[in-house]
């Protein structure tokens, strides 16, 4: 997560520097146009703008000495001023980049969302965004039940934010993240990842923070269901088990229909 934040901060810094460069070019071109319009030749206009942009105005090489442009003293002082200007630009760039990095690491958008999440009551927390969670969120939206999704993958959580869903990037085993998801006011917490170990630890953590929360968790086999039930009573399910039941009973129905048909035709 930190890595991704740094990358976005760097991208933001590059964008800001590009913007800064564009503004400088625009100022240069605009000033050049204005100066040439008031009877300065192109060379003098370029010199005046450069000295102004690099803070050379009011120095002894300013407008007054413009006639001695090719003297040795002028070239030395002009080079020093250009170097001085470049140093200033680099310093400003560095300060701006640092400022942007700090600003983006705070992630105001996420902070604002956490503030909104904390206002929620009796909501559902979904830990892990998978195909199963995707189905689940679709059903929750249909039933108009509010939910918050926690997932480690920042790309997924950003995508969910774009879809106007409440989402938090982080590990659902972290108490801080669960608090951000409003676990104290939540009614249900659903663990849907394909790891009994993670789901088990999640159940323990959630129950430690909010004893009254209703636990729903996916399990990979019967043994996991037993372990989970030992920790706390809840609704534990194996999706594949439910699918097996569904197909099994459909086949039975098929058998029964055929039996009815063969009996009636006799």
């Amino acid at each position: 997560m930190v890595k991704v934040d740094l990358v976005s901060a760097q991208n933001a810094s590059i964008e800001m520097l590009l913007l800064f460069t564009l503004i400088s070019i625009f100022i240069f071109l605009f000033s050049f146009h204005e100066l040439t319009a008031i009877d300065h030749n192109a060379y003098a206009s370029g010199y005046l703008i450069l000295t102004a942009m690099f803070d050379a105005v009011d120095t002894n090489v300013g407008v007054i000495n413009i006639t001695n442009l090719l003297s040795f003293n002028f070239l030395v002082v002009f080079t020093v001023l250009i170097m001085d200007g470049i140093t200033k630009v680099l310093l400003i760039g560095f300060v701006m980049a640092s400022f942007i990095e700090v600003f983006t690491s705070i992630d105001i958008k996420a902070r604002l969302q956490v503030h909104d999440i904390k206002k929620l009551k009796n909501h559902v927390i979904i830990c892990g965004y998978s195909m199963f969670s995707e189905q689940l969120t679709a059903e929750l939206i249909q039933k108009k039940i509010k939910f918050v999704i926690i997932d480690k993958d920042i790309i997924k959580t950003e995508m969910l934010k774009d879809m106007k869903y409440f989402s938090i990037a982080g590990n659902f085993l972290s108490e801080e993240i669960l608090m951000d998801a409003g676990i104290l006011n939540a009614k249900y917490i659903i663990f849907g990842v394909k790891s009994d170990y993670s789901n088990l630890l999640g159940v323990i953590t959630a129950k430690k923070i909010n004893k009254n929360i209703n636990i729903i968790s996916r399990a990979m086999d019967d043994a996991a269901v037993r372990y989970l039930n030992d920790i706390t009573p809840g609704k534990y399910f194996i999706p594949e088990y439910l699918a097996g039941n569904e197909i099994g009973y459909t086949l039975l129905e098929l058998e029964n229909i055929n039996n009815i048909n063969s009996n009636t035709s006799k």
């Binding site: 189905q135 086999d221 999706p239 699918a243 097996g244 099994g248 086949l251 055929n258």
Partner: protein, 145 residues
């Protein structure tokens, strides 16, 4: 439970003995409906031997194994491996060998569901969807209390 496969008629073929396949086998066994499991994994073969279920060791994608399972006389086939591609290939092969067979299968992807139906499946189950429906029912039930 063991029977000569060529004598089987109106039986069910189960492709894959994972959680889904095992559950189907349990139900069919309970209601005394004859079935054959096609499985490639050695550990699961041991399990099948322990349960004394009819089985064929090999890939369900191979038409030879489906023919050995007497697919022409089978009533239904449950293609329930944990691999979308294998399931799709098996559905196509099964339909090719017996046009009248009832094909039930599973998928995790809603986009693939339509393709599997086009390939010949009669009934497609999505484990994730069933589970989410079950959870929502539980939540709604508690909300209305």
């Amino acid at each position: 439970m063991k029977t000569k496969f060529s004598e089987l008629k109106d039986h069910v073929i189960i492709c894959g003995f994972g959680i889904v396949g095992e559950k189907i086998a349990d139900i069919l066994n309970e209601y005394k409906i004859s079935f054959i499991v096609i499985e490639v994994d050695e550990k699961k073969i041991e399990q099948l031997k322990k349960y004394d279920y009819n089985f064929i060791e090999g890939s369900a994608m191979k038409s030879k194994n489906l023919k050995d399972a007497n697919i022409k006389s089978a009533k239904a086939i449950a293609v329930v491996m944990d691999d979308e591609a294998k399931n799709l290939f098996t559905v196509i092969t099964a339909k090719d060998l017996n046009k009248d067979i009832f094909i039930a299968t599973r998928t995790n992807d809603i986009l693939i569901k339509d393709r599997i139906i086009e390939a010949g499946a009669n009934y497609v189950v999505m484990p994730q969807k069933i589970a989410s429906k079950e959870i929502i029912d539980e939540i709604v039930k508690n909300e209305s209390k």
